[in-house]
Amino acid sequence: MRRVAVIGVGVTKFGKHDRTSAELFAEAAREAVVDAGIEPQAIQALYYGNVTGGESERQLHMGPLAASLIGLPTIPTTRFENACATSHAAFRHAVMEVGAGVSDVVLVGGAERILHVPTEHATEYFAYCSDASFEQPTGLTFPGVFALIARAHMEKYGTTETQMAHVAVKNHRHGLHNPKAQFRKEITLETVLQSAYVADPLKLFDCCPFTDGGAAVLVASEEVARKHPRAVWVLGSAAASDSMFMHDKRDLSRVTATERAAAAAYRQAARGPQDVNVVELHDCFTIAEIVATEGLGLFEPGMGGPAAEKGWTSLGGKIPVNVSGGLKAKGHPIGATGAAQIAEIVTQLRGEAGPRQVEGARTGLTHTLGGNTATVLVSLFGRD
């Protein structure tokens, strides 16, 4: 494989939009093209991510649609769907296309538009990412899936609702400094702990919001990247799965797909968790951040909760996690999230993150989880 780099990134404001998801992606793509300083005609392929468009926008065949709106109607396109890990999965494939020498510049990312439908419709569409035979008929929701994980983690390690609340407070504090974030407002532990249960033991403020938004990343070959002084290298990008069925998971307190994807990405990058300076990980729920910090090897199993409580994952802490505000405060347009996380890490490694900059960050990691923990992507990035 050839070395591959990211030469440009773009992210829309996250929140509520009155434009289609393809329009949102086109805006992010334009920002990425301007950021990279390339001509759009240099882009040779589009890998596009979207999850609920068929239901929420009555729109399929979104790859050529997005390419048409960007002004590149003739390039080959592919649409990806891997639940909430969609655009990170697309990114891995873009890296492979460039790494294999098929293309020199590939545009990758995704978008989602969901806030125009009622909450119970959005909850239903997201639930389509769990199994339709055993799980959807029971009325299991995504907060419900992570509530099952939370209860198992609390039973095994003594993790507390207060520790989970610390994750929400920290990510909201981080989001204050991100102009693209959906929520730019500090919250207190009491706000989280006194919010209503959505799926016990998870409360409203343990959950990330529904979000509209788009994110785009330009992946390029080493030869192209050498002309871009702000290029950030892709050190590794790995995917792993776990059974689609909750009933097949042996230990609900772990996300084994995270552990497998992380091991593969660290191996590709010839680096370990101790080398990572900044992390954007999948905090769709507060417990998801705690379990991910353990699965990525940042903390020992069971130490994710205490680490959140002690501030080890805050900006200025041992290993800053989700300095963008994470899914919790920045927002979670599910088709865009993976690319948005990559955009944040690229911004951090360039040293361009302003008040949320992790000083001296040289190696960064992104982690995106799809659905009922069945899909996980982990990528590593470096300045050199």
Partner: protein
């Protein structure tokens, strides 16, 4: 012994009649919920059907208070992962148990929950 797959349609037809079916790998003994073509543990193909007794204990549970469309009128309701006595797990809706009585380790028993043409796995008092 059979190398026939227990399909979803068969599993839920049996469940509707009050019987839970698992499959056991004839090569390595792995017990699984069907359908599976190859054994995820050993990669071989050779299954025998096993009738499960339906008794188990809750390994995790949640009370859903914000529901998807189609379940909105049913809240609050509980969903649990249950470890069955034979060593395999199943996810199901809790029925006929007070929500505040739920805890990890609580013994429960399978019962089918039938609504129109749909069957879902349910668990009620042991």
């Amino acid at each position: 012994m059979t190398d026939e797959v227990v399909h979803l349609k068969d599993f839920f037809a049996e469940a509707r009649a009050g019987r839970l079916t698992a499959i056991r790998c004839t090569q390595c003994g792995e017990l699984a919920i069907p359908p599976k073509e190859f054994c995820a543990a050993c990669g071989k193909r050779g299954w025998e059907s096993i009738a499960l007794g339906g008794a188990g204990t809750i390994s995790s549970y949640t009370v859903i208070r914000v529901a998807p469309r189609g379940h909105v009128g049913q809240t609050p309701y509980a969903v649990a992962v249950v470890r069955l006595a034979e060593g395999v797990s199943l996810l199901g809706r809790i029925t006929d148990l007070p929500l505040d009585s739920l805890r990890v380790g609580l013994p429960v028993r399978f019962r089918p929950l039938v609504s129109g043409g749909e069957t879902m796995v349910g668990f009620g008092p042991a």
